[in-house]
């Protein structure tokens, strides 16, 4: 073996090892941590032990904690255990390669695994109150449709691949998220309306409201319950005779102990919105001059004009409140006119809040408030029976391809089969790395690329055979075959890759899933066919004595 070939061999071995490690969280041994309640009985422990026979699993028991190690421990098993009596919690510990290599488990989509099912109810009342007339069904449908697109974006940005989002009835939206893990952060993101407004504060009435509160509500904290707070708002409004052009909201502060927001004091704002979320063109998170995280933004040209007007000389000394979903979160005084259309939203925000805020400003607020009214888990849409037969079919199909290659191309076919297996490993590895959600369309992409993977070998082998027929030595024929086949393989794959790339821009859903698997498959199959199998042939033909090639 020459030095060049040796380096290649080392490189290939490294890549294969790395790829294998990336798939481990999906197919390797995992650890399930089960926490038992203090009152759990010996019987409960025995049930768990029976569920995990010692011949297959390693069990470590520490007081009220049980660690189970073994294969086939997945989210489904985790959820099964959670329902056992005496079990407080069960969770899968992250695999070492998840920590070390940022590998992720391949998630199965709604069609293969099911997930959680949320129903969001739209609250049209608020809009009707504001406009003063009832909405028609057509208007409601249009609003729902808008909300749907924004939700799709938000869910997508949270890295939940392949959700199913559809309108339900006249005033609700149904969302299905793949995977059964508790989607807390996603729920938060879709439950937030994300309406950001800048509005001027009316100091005189704010003072009146606070005065009234001091006299009638002395010392007591404001109610945190929204309904009670609304009642209080109405009482104050009547007491201080608030004009129609003004609105009473509350300034929210953060409780230093619980880190929760609570209404601190009433604040009266003009109803007229000085600057709204849709006047903002770009928003990002960066520290402000006090090294506190804040949302920085650029406005649109119209927004800049509005902003310059409201921060103009006539308003200097007044306060400009930043209202997020009807909660006043900050109200700085206006000191200078801002003409550049650049500003920041400062306040007592947590990191999660600023990042979510920046993201939501960028994508726009929901046109209507949505409330989660139902939340349940759902099973796969395809049915366990279909999935099992699908897996069987997939294995039979691949086995058929491999057998055919072996019979038709003999020894060279064996090399192609090794390539096919490596290709499968590489594809799974890349999918794990991306934390991809595998669905039926994704599997279609997988099958197609498996077909294309052997295709590259077929092209090369047919070329080598042609070269051999012209009387070349095996070594020359192999070299020529690879060289001539290269551009054919390259061009056809690049064309497919280009269109797959364009399709992958398709926000979310099945088309994206299909495009991603297809792209990954093309890249890995090109690497395998043009690099790894070529390398194997180079080794075989490097012994000059080879007279005949088994192909």
């Amino acid at each position: 073996m020459t030095r060049g070939l040796l380096y290649k061999a080392i490189f290939i071995i490294c890549i294969v090892c790395f790829a294998t490690m990336l798939i481990l969280p999906t197919i390797g041994e995992n650890t399930l941590q089960i926490v038992l309640s203090q009152t759990s009985t010996e019987q409960d422990l025995q049930t768990i032990k029976q569920r995990f026979p010692e011949s297959k699993y390693k069990i470590v028991i520490k007081d009220k904690e049980v660690l189970v190690e073994g294969y086939n421990l997945n989210v489904a098993v985790m959820n099964e255990i959670k329902r056992y009596s005496g079990v407080v919690d069960a969770k899968l510990l992250p695999h070492w390669s998840e920590k070390a290599l940022l590998a992720k488990k391949i998630n199965l989509g709604l069609d293969l695994q099911g997930g959680s099912y949320l129903v969001l109810q739209a609250n049209y009342h608020k809009i009707e109150e504001k406009t003063g007339k009832p909405l028609t069904n057509a208007e409601k449908n249009e609003i729902t449709e808008q909300a749907l697109e924004l939700l799709r974006n938000r869910v997508d940005k949270f890295g939940v691949a392949e959700p199913s989002i559809r309108p339900k009835g006249n005033d609700a939206i149904e969302i299905q998220l793949p995977g059964v893990k508790d989607p807390e952060s996603v729920k938060k993101a879709i439950g937030t309306t994300g309406r950001v407004e800048y509005r001027l504060v009316d100091d005189a009435y704010t003072q009146k409201a606070n005065q009234w509160l001091k006299e009638h509500f002395a010392g007591k904290p404001l109610p945190e319950d929204q309904l009670e707070l609304n009642k209080l708002t109405d009482t104050i409004k009547n007491a201080i005779a608030l004009p129609d052009s003004l609105e009473l909201l509350y300034y929210y502060e953060r409780n230093p102990q619980t880190a929760k927001l609570f209404p601190a004091y009433p604040i009266v704002l003009e109803k007229k919105v000085a600057l709204a979320g849709n006047d903002i063109s770009k928003a990002w998170v960066a520290p402000d001059e006090y090294q506190q995280l804040a949302v920085h933004f650029n406005t649109t040209p119209e927004g800049a004009a509005k902003f310059a007007e409201v921060t103009g000389e006539k308003n200097h000394g007044k306060k400009l409140a930043i209202v997020i979903d009807d909660k006043v979160r900050s109200a700085p005084s206006i000191r200078v006119q801002i003409n550049t259309g650049q500003a920041i939203i400062q306040g007592d925000f947590t990191y999660e809040e600023v990042t979510a805020l920046a993201r939501i400003i960028k994508e726009g607020a929901l046109p209507v408030d949505l409330k989660i009214i139902e939340e349940r888990t759902v099973g796969p849409t395809l049915g366990i029976d279909s999935i099992q037969s699908g897996v069987k079919a997939f294995i039979v199909g691949i086995a058929g391809i491999m057998l055919f290659m072996l019979i038709y191309y003999k020894f060279a076919g064996l090399i192609a089969d090794i390539g096919l297996l490596l290709n499968g490993i590489f594809m799974l590895a890349l999918l794990s790395w991306l934390g991809f959600t595998l669905t039926l369309p994704g599997i279609a992409g997988f099958i197609l690329t498996m077909g294309m993977a052997v295709d590259a070998n077929v092209i090369i082998y047919e070329r080598i055979k042609e070269e051999l027929r012209t009387g070349k030595t095996p070594r020359a024929a192999v070299a020529q075959g690879f060289e001539r086949a290269f551009w054919a393989i390259f061009d056809s794959n690049i064309t497919t890759l280009l269109s797959a790339f364009v399709l992958s821009q398709f926000g979310t859903g099945p088309i994206k899933g299909f495009a991603v698997t297809l792209s990954i498959g093309i890249i890995s199959s090109m690497f395998v066919a043009l690099y790894i199998t070529k390398f194997i042939f180079e080794i075989i033909t490097s012994r000059g004595s080879l007279k005949k090639l088994s192909i």
């Binding site: 099912y117 339900k168 796969p380 279909s386 099992q388 079919a393 197609l448 295709d455 269109s499």
Partner: protein, 296 residues
């Protein structure tokens, strides 16, 4: 010298086959009352039903299929509750919600004992107008990019040939769904996209050989070169179709009810994709060449 099969000579037979297929498929689609768009596209009704112990999704699906109702069945909530979501598009093309609901309810009530229908709702399509439009735009964009790449790597005439073959395959596959009355849902869209990817791949391998053979300076005509190139690559074309068909055929035979239609669309697409790269793509390169030569 090996024997060259005169593919181009038979091109008119190929056109006849294609046109016949298009006409038959279109007519049958029309007789079926148009394309059978699924719940993902048109929406439908959704029932939450509580069943007796021991009923599973496979059983429910079997009963519904026997009654010619195609539905998505999902178990919902805790397993021991035995509650299922049954979503189906509206039964008739009249899109009457009440009638469809009545029909579905009757089928369930006649076939299962002790059921309790917890809720009946209408659901909208998962693929809304916005998604449909952006999907259309992206597919158009990807065709343009493909054309440009091929024009850059080969020549414009080859782009035309490849795109004609591509459109040919996709149109026929979609018509095939209408012909066979296959309900078009998200997985079927994926199958059609698979055909889309497969078709170009197949065509380019042949064009690559044409490009190579054109560099050998002989007195042969363009038609000869094309015939020669197709003949030289025919074993590869058929072998690849065969290996891919293995996988898809397995899916068709043992994939079960859920995957049957998906696999049949793929099966059709691969056969038609192979056929079009042999008989449709190259003649169009030829026509384009003739057309531009006349002008020049």
């Amino acid at each position: 010298m090996e024997k060259i099969i005169p593919f181009i000579k038979y091109r008119f037979i190929a056109y006849a086959v294609t046109i016949t297929l298009i006409v038959i498929f279109s007519l049958q689609t029309y007789r079926n009352g148009g394309f059978n768009w699924g719940i993902d596209f048109v929406g439908g009704i959704k029932l939450t039903v509580k069943f007796d112990q021991g009923v599973d999704t496979a059983q429910i699906r079997k009963v519904l299929t026997q009654n010619k109702i195609s539905a998505v069945i999902q178990q919902v909530g805790k397993e021991e509750d035995n509650e299922y979501l049954i979503s189906t598009k509206l039964a008739s093309r009249t899109e009457n919600v009440e009638e469809s609901t009545k029909e579905l309810k009757a089928v369930i009530q006649n076939n299962f004992k002790n059921i309790e229908i917890l809720s009946i709702e209408t659901v909208g399509p998962a693929i809304g107008d916005f998604l449909k439009k952006s999907a259309g735009k992206l597919i158009a964009l990807s065709i343009i990019i493909m054309t440009l790449y091929l024009a850059f790597r080969f020549e414009l005439k080859y782009s035309i040939g490849a795109i004609v073959a591509l459109v040919h395959d996709v149109v026929l596959s979609v018509l095939f769904c209408g012909f066979a009355g296959i309900e078009i849902n998200i997985p079927i869209v994926a199958a059609i996209l698979t055909i889309y990817g497969y078709s170009v791949n197949d065509t380019i391998i042949i064009f690559d050989r044409v490009r190579e053979n054109l560099q050998i300076k002989t007195k042969q005509t363009f038609i000869d070169v094309i015939d020669k190139s197709i003949t030289q690559t025919i074993s590869r074309t058929l072998l690849t179709a065969l290996t891919t068909l293995f996988a898809v055929f397995a899916l068709y035979m043992i994939g079960g009810e859920g995957l049957n239609e998906f696999a049949s669309v793929l099966l059709f697409g691969i056969v038609i994709g192979t056929y079009s790269s042999l008989y449709i793509a190259s003649p169009f390169v030829l026509y384009w060449e003739k057309l531009t030569l006349k002008k020049a």
